[in-house]
Symmetry: D2
Subunit: 357 residues, 4 copies
Amino acid sequence: MPGRWPVAVLGATGAVGQTFVRLLQGHPWFTVTELAASERSAGKTYREATRWIEGMFPAHLGGRAVLPCDPDVVRAPIVFSALDAAAAADIEPAFARAGRLVLSNAKCFRMEPDVPLVIPEVNAGHLAALDIQRVSRGWSGGIVTNANCAATGATIALAPLHEAFGVQQVMVVTLQALSGAGYPGVPALDALGNVIPYIADEEEKIEREIPKMLGQWTGSSFAAADLVVSAQANRVPVEHGHMTCLAVKFRTRPTRSEALEVLRAWRGASAARGLPSSPPCPLVVLTELDRPQPRRDVGMGAGMAVSVGRVRADPILDLRLVALAHNVIRGAAGGSILNAEVLAATGRLPAAPSGVE
Amino acid sequence: MPGRWPVAVLGATGAVGQTFVRLLQGHPWFTVTELAASERSAGKTYREATRWIEGMFPAHLGGRAVLPCDPDVVRAPIVFSALDAAAAADIEPAFARAGRLVLSNAKCFRMEPDVPLVIPEVNAGHLAALDIQRVSRGWSGGIVTNANCAATGATIALAPLHEAFGVQQVMVVTLQALSGAGYPGVPALDALGNVIPYIADEEEKIEREIPKMLGQWTGSSFAAADLVVSAQANRVPVEHGHMTCLAVKFRTRPTRSEALEVLRAWRGASAARGLPSSPPCPLVVLTELDRPQPRRDVGMGAGMAVSVGRVRADPILDLRLVALAHNVIRGAAGGSILNAEVLAATGRLPAAPSGVE
Amino acid sequence: MPGRWPVAVLGATGAVGQTFVRLLQGHPWFTVTELAASERSAGKTYREATRWIEGMFPAHLGGRAVLPCDPDVVRAPIVFSALDAAAAADIEPAFARAGRLVLSNAKCFRMEPDVPLVIPEVNAGHLAALDIQRVSRGWSGGIVTNANCAATGATIALAPLHEAFGVQQVMVVTLQALSGAGYPGVPALDALGNVIPYIADEEEKIEREIPKMLGQWTGSSFAAADLVVSAQANRVPVEHGHMTCLAVKFRTRPTRSEALEVLRAWRGASAARGLPSSPPCPLVVLTELDRPQPRRDVGMGAGMAVSVGRVRADPILDLRLVALAHNVIRGAAGGSILNAEVLAATGRLPAAPSGVE
Amino acid sequence: MPGRWPVAVLGATGAVGQTFVRLLQGHPWFTVTELAASERSAGKTYREATRWIEGMFPAHLGGRAVLPCDPDVVRAPIVFSALDAAAAADIEPAFARAGRLVLSNAKCFRMEPDVPLVIPEVNAGHLAALDIQRVSRGWSGGIVTNANCAATGATIALAPLHEAFGVQQVMVVTLQALSGAGYPGVPALDALGNVIPYIADEEEKIEREIPKMLGQWTGSSFAAADLVVSAQANRVPVEHGHMTCLAVKFRTRPTRSEALEVLRAWRGASAARGLPSSPPCPLVVLTELDRPQPRRDVGMGAGMAVSVGRVRADPILDLRLVALAHNVIRGAAGGSILNAEVLAATGRLPAAPSGVE
């Protein structure tokens, strides 16, 4: 298949791994050539090892052997990692050391001072940190991370407002979907007709990742944005789609209509436009009073657009709004793939094959 | 039935009306003698007019004629009103003028300068405004209101903190149950696996009712508490139980343990203790990380206790916490009944029958 | 837009009407030129009159005036009717009399002796009754109906088995989705975490429609299949997808593998193949033990394929199986559109425009 | 605590074990003195070992050590077993051998020729098999089982009809609640808005247990009732309450009103009446068209009554009806406790303490 990069999926049997496989079917630049998972699955076929949770199982991959997550066995130069943090901590550096570019969903390396934490429309420039990372760690490959699934939607909604008005404080209350917990994830008896006002480590991730992403790469280090985030995380009985209720204080207080204008006009970094996974518009502003809603709006831009609504003044801070993002697509696998596409488009992928673009 | 006040329920066929009927079964002080509803139901029996939505229909009331909401027809001195705002606007004053005491769930009169908006544990003293109300309006009866169902839980959770530390700002994000919308209420196709980030007029009610309830009756007028509330309201697929995620700024910042101590020690106004509908403790502090949860905790104190949890510092304001209240019991019918009990216990009920202690 | 039939949608603002509009977007043969609804909506724009319940509102139709359901106003030769039975009883014949071909979802005319009740793969031959209908009723147009949404899936699953082995008795227990009740439909408080073992008139429809569809058009009348259906209908908290648990007695008892072979080989009537809305295969046999499931399988064949599973012997009758169909697509709007496509392909549409192949 | 039997709960940390603990709080005849669970929990306190899933944790038991399931350690003469089948296979006989009476929820011994499978109202007489069991197995204690949770409700609904008219064939389609799968049980992503048409081994249990329970103990063996059951099992997103849609063929065909009369008149075996856990009436006949419903009717008789509705003729067999039972109470822990109460009342408990009854 000339002109496509061979890619591997690590953690291919889990929920996010399955989404990688699903989204990469028919991808114009990447072809899944290897599927890897934990020891428990290694040796089985992909069909045997996987409890497929959405839509039709990709029959053409069913007979593929599931490989161990070992860079001596998995040979693809590009590696999408859906590993959990415990596994990722050792495996992802091993692949980076072995010259592969790892697109990681795990939390382990997101806050490292030389690891880019990237949403292309927001901070594609952070990818330049890869050069420092390689030098400082002696890796021939590298690790690029994408953010916590709830932080992602909030960050995309905040980015244009931060550019225009300077965010100082953000109160975030999340209503997060079940798929964010993976599979089997939340027991039905905990979820049905219920809300759980706690998700382990989630609030901490949201509070630290947003400032990093809204900050700058200085050429030698990341300068976090000078803003404070307070997060309260809730699990709600929704399949897909993390909602965030935001209240924001700015350096320059915008009116509601100034805020709406900025949100509507935003298209994100030019490096992120026109790629295979780019949505037509990264931010969709809804004006109906009761939107966005997970069930109705989570599919915007094939799951890659963030929808915002209920933009209005706040009597304590300056502005309130609601943002919704597809946690498994934009907030996980789709975000990683878009990161890889930006790397491809900017010539940062290892061993670029002939014929791309 | 000597020793009990005869009471009527207005709007008896709807969701809150049914809860009145259910909670008043076997009440030691009050006996439902009349059921009234809109013209559409009048003339039918209660069984014919009612689509009973929870538990067993009260068979002994099934053959009772549903009366029109007319003080010339309905004769009970105490009237529990589950009318919606449109109907309540005219009917409740008509009953008050005719000498009845109206315990109202409607929003119409809550913010009137001479109408008490009462949660007995919090502001039983506001009931003194009834005397002014009677004089100024020339009513021989009166109207006492209880608060919006989401404001109720937040207010009870805030009351002890306000007493101790002085609340200045409160950010409220609600996750509200379906039963708050009455019956038929929210269509299942809107609710199932979804969140709706909007409830008409709810945020305004929360923002204005909390300061009134946390304020003082000066003897001639209400002095609202000097604090600002910001509310964001969401509907979630939960049957009963409104959760509120709170972030609070105080005049005197408490530590987490100081706040917990105050919450745990609080028993509310003495006038509200030991009444038939009083919970053993109006506020239950949960320390498990993932509580309160609507499905598991909404029944605390037979639906009359508010449970709070996740008390912790906030990086922007001072403190975060989560509060949960049963919206149909504590936040509606049960709250009204407790208001009537306080009035009875303090000698403010019209025509007190013999034998009530 | 040369080469396409102009079509109207009656009842365009309701749930099934919206699905017609959605499915007809970009249809190669039909173009929606008129939207009609009840008096309540007439005069408004489509955007004003419609509470859009799934996905993005079709912006290009938003400004279109909603017309009354009057054949003097609505001029399209092909009319898709999503009217409820009360409205359809008068309006559909009025359109047929006025020369239009009405594709009806209503129950009123399904059992008429000269009205085809059609699932193209199963009984496309019934469409020949249109000729008799026109003569007997003096209509220049006609009415073609599609079946009850729960009967549709069961009929498609039974058709190949009936052809091969002769169905004698069918026990049907349904688990039906919320969208089958339209919008607003079932109140969330009735649906959430609950099952309702009753749907008005549903069991009767299932019991009488299946034999008609599995029967024959003799040239002058319908000869129902000689089989008895027993139906028990349940509403379950599922968004889309009616499941039917079937137990079947045959004239010739098949083994499980004979039944599976027949189900797998079936492609339906040739007249129904290769049309714009035809699924690749009308019946998809699943072999996983726990399939079909509404959430995972309802989208098969873009909602037009029926999935069956759990085929196994029955200790009382002969065979048990489970069938699943998308009630709004295959069981309503999509079924009507496929009926129209068969009529187009067989030269039965009035006033065929130029350019249709 | 004189006058009460000390009892132990095996598998006390799981869902059914927790229900045992909850239902036995304040029981007039039994006091929980020991809590036992698997090796994983042994050594912890009950609070540490248990993820409490419903209502308030029983604080007075929180500090109790969780014991291993070993009859040398656990000393109570009465043992309620909520063990899963794998554990029960060895542990329950060990306790019986050691002289304890085991009330078992596991499937392992239900179909043994000398083990009673009992619903007291239906077949209390089967308990006489205990004498044979002790002799044949050389046990000084014994094992009494209760039925599969879905079989229980169907059996109670069928019992009076079988007595009066002789059941020959029963088609059972179940809609079973999530709590039937224990905790963590079904993942929320499988359950939410979905139906799963398969529960491992459930149909087999229903098909074999109903005939045993409706049969007779001859004095030396069980004579199963001469009837055939066909079962189709479905999991639905309901918290508690297994519904069964039944179609029944009888030796003597009753009219609908004859069947209703028999169902209404039935009170079950006299041995089962007036016990602490006996519901006022074991069978509640509902006449509303859309009942029983799990959410509204599962609590009948504190979870110990079965509600039936929709009794009507069937065009293939004779009669259709719907039955609902609380799967965790009547169908599991509550059923076991009622079995123990019958044994106590009939003098079959080992080492009856002074002062009971």
